[in-house]
Symmetry: D3
Subunit: 326 residues, 6 copies
């Protein structure tokens, strides 16, 4: 996808310039993992024009293979971001109608080749939200991946502007029994999985409960993870990562982030960090610490994708906040 | 007026680039009201050159009629703004000498046409500060407007760089008996209206007292309003709106604004919000809440004028601070 | 429409920034006419979001009424422009699939109100190229306009990326009998109107012949006009305007334009100049001189629309090329 | 003076950004001479604010002493430049009303100190055009300088936007008898000095005649100089320098300049080059070659002032046009 | 290497901003070939910091493998480019002292791996100019490559700022007997290979003679190629490609390039085009036409490297100059 | 030195643009003192190219004499700064290998002239860190300065990326007996002067102890000073200045700085303020208040050097934080 952002402090109707960034949930996770040294392939479909070419160049720049990026269709999915500041939240105009990817109706990749030697297949809930066809294709892809021996990583990533809660919930019922690693939190538990709200507990204690309940529903899922985010303003957030694994709850320290340069992609950087931990055998605590640090760093750079190596994320964890290195 | 601003983090003598914004107290109020769907006319005088043309285009862009913007005279009133950051406050270089508007010596508009069907006439205390002629013209304009059935809205807006307290106080004695809606606060009460300072009260309680005293002096005034602003730094303020109407004091919640993108025009957005409430029959509380929210939002965008619709101001009030909408 | 342009000297896949300009054939003609002091209304449909709002602001800024700009539908028609330089021509990526305007299937305006007191209705051949529905709607609109007493102005404006020659030719057969003022040139005559090519003549003499033949086919058309453009490079063109009226051929001087700042909208500025001449009773020679000068000036500014007043176009004609005025 | 320029390809009413450059005729000559290693002092008056400070910093950066730049008065003289492109000439909005310098009514410098050890005093005809007071002050300054042993350098520099031909001619009658080095050309001869036009000669031959006639009127003047400029467009000029000294006419080669980056200050770079030649005892031919080369180079950089050292000007003369040095 | 360029129209001492581009002769050739679909590996050494990382990202973005880019050493080779305009030529400040690559003293790559399956090894004369060690390493690398079955491509690329003619000539004597494809022209023939100048011939005829003589000296070389460039100014050049193969001379059409956006890398794009023709079996004429077109297109984009696919180069050849495609 | 900074929110490998600022520890102190009206000379060595010229222009702009800036050598010392934001600290890539200054091996200035009439000689610990030669040259310079009657000001300014603690400590043993004014704090005391750490005290009390101990070691030193900086994040710091003079400890108020625009040069602005106080006979308390205020203001502007006059620093101290002046 192409993101076109207004400059900070400008509304979209005032804007004479837009910043262009390429990304999207799965692509951002792919870049994170490539940054950490994993071999990563991204599968999508883009139009056969210079915008499609730009997607390829973006992926390759960060070391992600574009071998499975198909070309064809009418247009590249796009969205406009009006960057938020202080009390004014960011706002997004989705402009994905008729995109090459959204209009796919069959799996055009050579699936045997796609999943050959792959160990993790990651996909987000935005994909099935694009069309009914994509709900079926998502399930089909996951089944093929599973058959090929992949772990299935799924990020619920519910977007109310794309589909209703009911449709999303119905889809989750189909997909979650197939999933190994699942990014889902309190809101997903309440509104998509039908888990009753718990009261009288701290936010973190409640989250443990929701993880337990989700685990009960889907014993097949090995890991749940999500962030607790306190939105003080569009420019200042507190972020804490949480992870549920082996019936144990783990949480990172709370990071204050102020000012936020660009929040988009923070969740994807978090997911990328969790998958890195799982793929390399970090402990649960190391995993959640690493993933949260990666997410925090992402907030300090423009663009959708994480720009930090494994070494830099670890250095950030070690050094604490904001010291100049010279 | 033309504002030429340095980029953030640059002093004026370093600046190789200035950002140009058109505005000015009354023009900013006009834009706010047009944003909220009112029919608004702006009356002024600009030189017959491309800068004058730019003023017209600015007004029309926001739906304000430029029918009463006269052309002629020597130059467009200008000021330079060095944007403040952190502990360094903004600083302003006024460059209004010999401006087309400041050098007017008679009312060159067709006044019958100007005020036809108008319901509110708004003017600020900057206008009479420009020249002695403008002190007389201001009174004359207000009397004509009143005769034509307009409510008179006056924003004291005292600027020490333009005239002395004594001159301003003398002028206020003439103008306030004619005014219906008045933006004035503690400083105006103390230094321009001669109301003795009250001690031992909270800031808000003291303000109630000043409103009462001002009301006592000018029983003709239906509404007083002003903001309480805590300046933590040039980049972080707290803002609370207050309104005195029907012998009652109303105040909004306190909004934290950090970081401030551009503070100039915040007071005008506030005045615009108050006039919108008065013009559409909002309750006092709704009015002050709306006006304060509008003022807060203004701080998050570059340029002098409010960029938000009625619906967006209300959404901001409803949603709280800084959430991303997607 | 929204145009997103790369910076000069950058290809689209390299671009981290796009310049945003709002425009489109008919909108550009509207702005030209408003610049010359005419009362102009623009009718279209845009999505109900900030991009739609930006279209309104653009029109109002230049004094064009946005009263008939409807809101609704999925997205704003967009295109990407890679600016050409030297031997590298500009290239365009159309991104209009599923646009609010393109997907209209009925005339949603209050047509009685739309055409009330209108004297000219201008539309281009890009509109019927958007969909089959729009071919019918175009004819319907033109008939309504004609019935309301408008002169019908039609710019053939054939775009091979939008429809084939055969479809365009078939549509022209329907529309041209209804047209009063028609922008069409040699290519249109040859490939869309089926007029046989003439050889052994100068380019200008041949054009006289094509005008004669087109006039013969459509005696109802009062004026034909088009430009002869010699493309030396993407940065240097020669431009000459031509007009056929009352069985007479008129041509402007040849203008060299180097460097070209932005060629897009040059044809619309030309059409706007011709309509201005027709609407104000200029002679044919004055009309073609004025229109060509306006088109030339357009090439020297960024953005789709003409930025020059009648007085400035005339001053350019009088002064000759490139003198500094001080 | 402060120049505020629109970006290339943008008209002033579209401009959201202006480029700031400090300069002015005499200041630009001063910078040129400092670039060539001369000790140079600039005398003027600027307001006591950050814009005045910026003028000082500008001069010092280029090695010109700001010791005689007085502070006081209301504002800094300003002008807006809409950069010309192709056939569209640049246009200027003077905004000098009430400037600190223009409103001077007496010579506020310590004149003994000002002229101590000075060898050349340079002033242009723009200064006396600012006010009647400045006509008298100009004469007074020149007489003082002459008494102190300076050569008097005067650049006629007639600006029709500042005063009429009659007033300028009357002033020239007073000043030229005091002048040693005079920048004046055909237009000055015809319209300000009343020399009858000559026909039937080439432009260069005619210029010889005008120099002869001016010399006849003012035998005290040792050197006349001016440029012949062919304005092909705002982006392409041909420039040739000419010099009259010891009853001999000298001319440089003709330089083509395309594209022109910034023409403002070209004449001042030329004058600076001539004065450099005169001050260092170059031959007439060397002087005119050097001065013209300096003027040509000035056209290739943004800003009012020459950015080239003596060595760079000479290297340009030696190397010919446009080779990359690596 | 990192190139830091001033903005057009600005001298380096004025520059507050530099544009960063990564490139260098061999890297630019590598990018060209990757654009045309070849599998390309680039071998170099960069420091282990973010500038080194940027080099990797640059290469990968364009599909060049960075597998053989070693890390270590003190700094990245850098140069500053003051972009030329009109008569003012570009000027370069080399800042390569102590660079990681220049200070290499042995071949640190796994040479067996480096040359495995490689078909062409390309290197330029800038590399041996960096140090005496690099003269020996260059020869050693070439011998290894030859032994591994590569064709040896060598671009003489003499830079007077890096070494003297004598040293270069001595080195050429060693290297040319090993070369298969050689970029060398008249200047190289005269000053480095000692071929006597021929007079009384056209430039093209003379070049045939120089190719013949060079061929006579080095019968092992299969192809010679170079461009004839007429430098009208820094902004306007004419370019013609020439090729000598099988004792036959071939030349492309002459391309006018105006304005030039960025000339740096034009020669590398030319070399890349020639190697593409040789690698894919194009005829000599096709090869020289393709290579020249690629070089011309390069001049129209910022940055060192060719941004065009094979299809785009062919489309440019077919379409002629500067037409808009829409 | 030349600093090349990434834009805020961008990492170096993403950066297509770098901001150029000239500075360096001693140069920044020089500019501060010139801002306050002192006569200041800066001694260094720069290459004879446009980057060297830019250094001269930078110094002169701020009123620092460049008379003792020698030219010669290979390159200008450079460093790259990735601006920190929120939790991500700034990071620096030093690129000083082979710089003209670092490679000096003898004192090339006319030392008699250099120190004539000078009252203070200031140098920082970065200079001896550049090479062993510079350790000896530093001592030699200081001895010459002392002999000429200068007070010796030395800023320890330890940079771990340039030399080890042992080497630095050994050097300090040589230099400190010669010093009059010394910028050194807790870290220097602990790791370079071998003073044992004190526990159980507040940070300020501990600092008093370290000053006492340093004073005991070097009774010749008249003044010690340093800042206490609490790094909340790269964007928010608290800063307090401290001064030890006449066996007395003085401290300024604590300033919060948020957001930080550019932290580099803050310490130099502090040193400049202290030297100003010492040179003009301010009291210890006035000195530390002034110096700290200057350091705080520096954080609010881009670039290495202080941009504030004495009057502006005092106004900041008087007015408190962040009020707009109009």
């Amino acid at each position: 996808m192409l993101r076109l952002s207004s400059l900070s402090g400008q509304r979209i109707p005032q804007s004479e310039t837009f910043q262009a960034h390429y990304g999207g949930g799965e692509a951002n996770v792919a870049v994170s993992l490539a940054n950490y040294g994993h071999e990563v392939y991204f599968a999508s479909k883009v139009p056969e024009n210079d915008l499609g070419e730009a997607v390829d160049k973006h992926l390759r720049r960060y070391g992600v293979s574009s071998e499975f990026v198909l070309t064809g269709g009418k247009r590249l999915g796009t969205y406009y971001l009006e960057t938020g500041v202080a009390g004014r939240g960011a706002s997004v105009i989705y402009d994905r109608a008729a995109s090459s990817f959204a209009e796919m109706t069959e799996l055009e990749w050579d699936l045997a080749k796609l999943f050959k030697n792959a160990t993790i297949f990651h996909i987000s809930g935005i994909t099935p939200a694009l069309s009914e066809a994509w709900q079926q294709l998502t399930i089909a892809l996951i089944k093929k991946a599973k058959a090929a021996g992949c772990k299935i990583s799924f990020d619920v990533n519910y977007r109310g502007k794309l589909w209703g809660q009911q449709a999303a919930a119905a889809f989750l019922k189909q997909v979650l029994p197939l999933v190994d690693y699942c990014s889902a939190g309190k809101m997903d538990a309440l509104y998509l999985l039908g888990i009753p709200e718990v009261n009288g507990k701290s936010e973190n204690e409640a989250l443990v409960y929701y993880y337990q309940e989700m685990q009960r529903q889907y014993p097949n899922i090995q890991v749940f993870y999500s962030t607790l985010r306190e939105v003080r303003s569009a420019s200042a957030n507190c972020l804490q990562g949480t992870l549920w694994q082996n019936q144990q709850y783990h949480e990172s320290q709370i990071h204050e982030i102020e000012p936020i340069v660009d929040r988009v992609g923070g969740g994807d950087a978090f997911a990328g960090g969790v998958l890195h931990g799982l793929a390399t055998g970090l402990s649960s605590q190391e995993t959640i610490d690493f993933a949260t640090a990666a997410a925090v760093l992402k907030h300090t750079v423009h663009g959708d994708c994480n720009q930090f190596s494994q070494q830099e994320v670890l250095a950030f964890l070690a050094a604490g906040s904001g010291r100049i290195v010279r």
